[in-house]
């Protein structure tokens, strides 16, 4: 420390001493957007926090209930029962679909995962405002944490769903293709991260989007064939049907149903659409979010 004592006041090279001079050596602007590489590194360093924060939020919300974590399983169980009661028992409708209950349950739960990530991602900056104002961290942790939280919610739902599909009296064709559900979930999670990042920045710019998102989500829900097969319904609108073939959610749902319920191979085109959307949106959404990094402090 003795060598530091000599540099009490750094001399101005011009000798103008009326204005005090300080050396900015070793100092960097604070809160600036860093290069993509170091941003990703910082994000990776915060992975423990993202996970811990998501779990804390989840258990924080469940702990107030008497049954606690039990609701993570009870919730999907009760909704399947409701669906079975309405569609299977009262309406007795199958709408020309084999194993309609399984079809419906897969559609609803898998769509919910993306739908919640979408609405959560839109409000991620706003709901994380206190954290953003509180301390410095890569802001992409917020939309990612939304997806992680929904993913943690989704896992017990998925377990309940698979058990119910096996237990409920219906004819499933169980083949090796069941394992294909895992890559689909991975693809869908990647897609959700991209979507949440993209919407987080737009939602920060335009706060009104949160109102709009629930409507978009509903349109998308029907457009992805959650309650009915869009191939049947849109058979007389070939243009609309062709557009639907690019819908990533339709791809994910169809692949899961084919693999889990019907035990048949899926059109490679659907796999391509699913993979393309997942990685395409991840890159676009993440870069878009990263470019707005410095603006999120102002809310």
């Amino acid at each position: 420390m003795s060598e530091k004592s000599q540099t009490v006041e750094t001399k101005n090279p011009l000798g103008l001493s009326t204005i005090p001079s300080v050396s900015s050596e070793g100092l960097v602007p604070v809160g600036r957007r860093t290069s993509l590489r170091s941003y990703l590194a910082a994000l990776w360093n915060r992975r423990h926090f993202i996970l811990a924060e998501s779990r804390a939020k989840m258990s924080g919300s469940t702990r107030k209930n008497l049954l606690g974590y039990g609701w993570l399983f009870l919730n999907p169980l009760l909704s399947v029962l409701a669906f079975w009661f309405i569609f299977g028992f009262i309406l007795q409708s199958s709408r020309g679909i084999d194993n309609f209950l399984g079809y419906l349950v897969i559609g609803v739960f898998f769509f919910q995962f993306t739908g919640k990530s979408m609405t959560g991602g839109t409000g991620a900056i706003r709901s994380g405002a206190s954290m953003i104002k509180g301390f410095q961290f890569p802001r992409a942790a917020l939309p990612i944490s939304v997806v992680v939280r929904n993913f943690l919610d989704f896992i017990p739902t998925l377990a309940v769903m698979i058990v119910l599909i096996l237990v409920l009296p219906d004819l499933e064709v169980i083949t090796w293709r069941v394992v294909l559900v895992i890559p689909v979930i991975i693809l869908q999670t990647i897609f959700n991260v991209g979507l949440a990042c993209l919407l987080a920045r737009i939602g920060h710019k335009i706060p009104d989007l949160t109102n709009f998102m629930s409507i978009v989500s509903r349109f998308w829900l029907y457009g992805s064939g959650v309650f009915f097969s869009i191939e049947d319904r849109l058979s007389d609108h070939p243009l609309l049907l062709a557009a639907m073939q690019f819908n990533p959610m339709h791809s994910y749902l169809t692949i899961v149903r084919n693999s889990l319920l019907y035990g048949v191979d899926t059109d490679p085109w659907l796999w391509f659409v699913g993979i393309f959307w997942a990685f395409g949106l991840l890159i676009v959404g993440f870069l878009f979010f990263w470019r707005g990094e410095e603006s999120y402090g102002r809310i």
Partner: protein, 435 residues
Amino acid sequence: MAESELQEPNIIAENVQVRYTVNTNDPSQRAKGLRRLTNAVAGRAGQTTVRALRGVNFVAREGEMVGIVGANGSGKSTFLRNVAGVEQPDRGRILVRYQPLLLGVSAALQPALSGSENVRLGCLAMGLSPDEAAEAFDYVVELSALGSAIHRPMGTYSSGMGARLRFAIALAARPKILLIDEALSTGDATFAERSERAMDELLAEAGTVLLVNHAAKVIQELCTRAVWMHRGEILMNGPAEAVAEKYRWWAWNVAKGKEDIADKLLADVVSNAVKEEINILEPELISNPIPRHAARQTKQKMVAARHVKRQHEVDEVEETPTPMLAAAEEQVWPRSFDDEMPKAKFPSLPKPASQAVSAPRISDAPPLRLNPSKKRVVLRAANPSDRASSVAAADDFTGRRLASRARQIADERYKERQRLRQEDNAPAVHQDSGR
């Protein structure tokens, strides 16, 4: 206060300006024309621009604890947020040596979780790894002195207990720059003691603390320097005693409704205020006083010059002394003065602070850290019978002890403050007992 030898700047704020556009229902600010219609649809009366910071120049050096005083709404908290980097100023720039830590980790804490779970969460939020967070746990428990309450949900804590836990978590990361926004006022006496010692250690390790507090006494006791902010500007900057005293006198007059005296005081301070400017020397400017943009103009000529020089070297190889001398003579006395003389290079003036708009983007700056090293957390408690002290004795688990010199500075600061307190308290005892 013990004189610190550490003088390198840790924070430089240059012409920081912040303005917010906010809604207002002030009738005089009401919009006109079409704007008024859209505002009516949106349900707001009008908008106004608030200048929260109007060109703040500020330097904080190593080992300094700077108090910031000022009335409500004078821009103190905005300034701290900008220094912490959670917000970007509209104009100007802020340079820091380490990532400053705003005492606001509370944002990451969950009231439904227990204190101990929140310690882990808060440590992870500051970028500690899970192992480091586990090691810091004992330190946090000891510093916060919460006892068994650490296992209860944080939502059940009193406000003072919550503040203690938050402060302890913030210090667990061993930040080098700590920004405190009126957080210490809630703790009780024992905690105040502990927190002051913890901050002494931070300062002794070449750290910097910015402390916003309304109690001028706290500023006088703790800080080496103080800054009085008023309406987004720094009015006064000087020794903590003097600035806090002036501020206290002004605030007392305002509180008592003696507006004329207060205004006079303020006018006096303003008239004496020197608009502080700082001249930031860029690192490359220090090593090479000719800035890059000045050198760039002669780049074309530089290339030619290098070419000539290379030829000259070739000449040297031939080892013919006479042409060399002739060449040297030629350089000193050009035959004709019609040739263009080589231009003298003058170092251009560094930009004044008011003209600097933003810092050059450092594309691959190293990521800022809370502290420079990955070293472990110091576990030290005020009370020797505490568990943390015994843990501290086992050196390898506790990690870094303070460097002896830093330790000495911290102890000197502590003793000095104790002495001042005793001087203060000695005559005050009678008043207290009489109350």
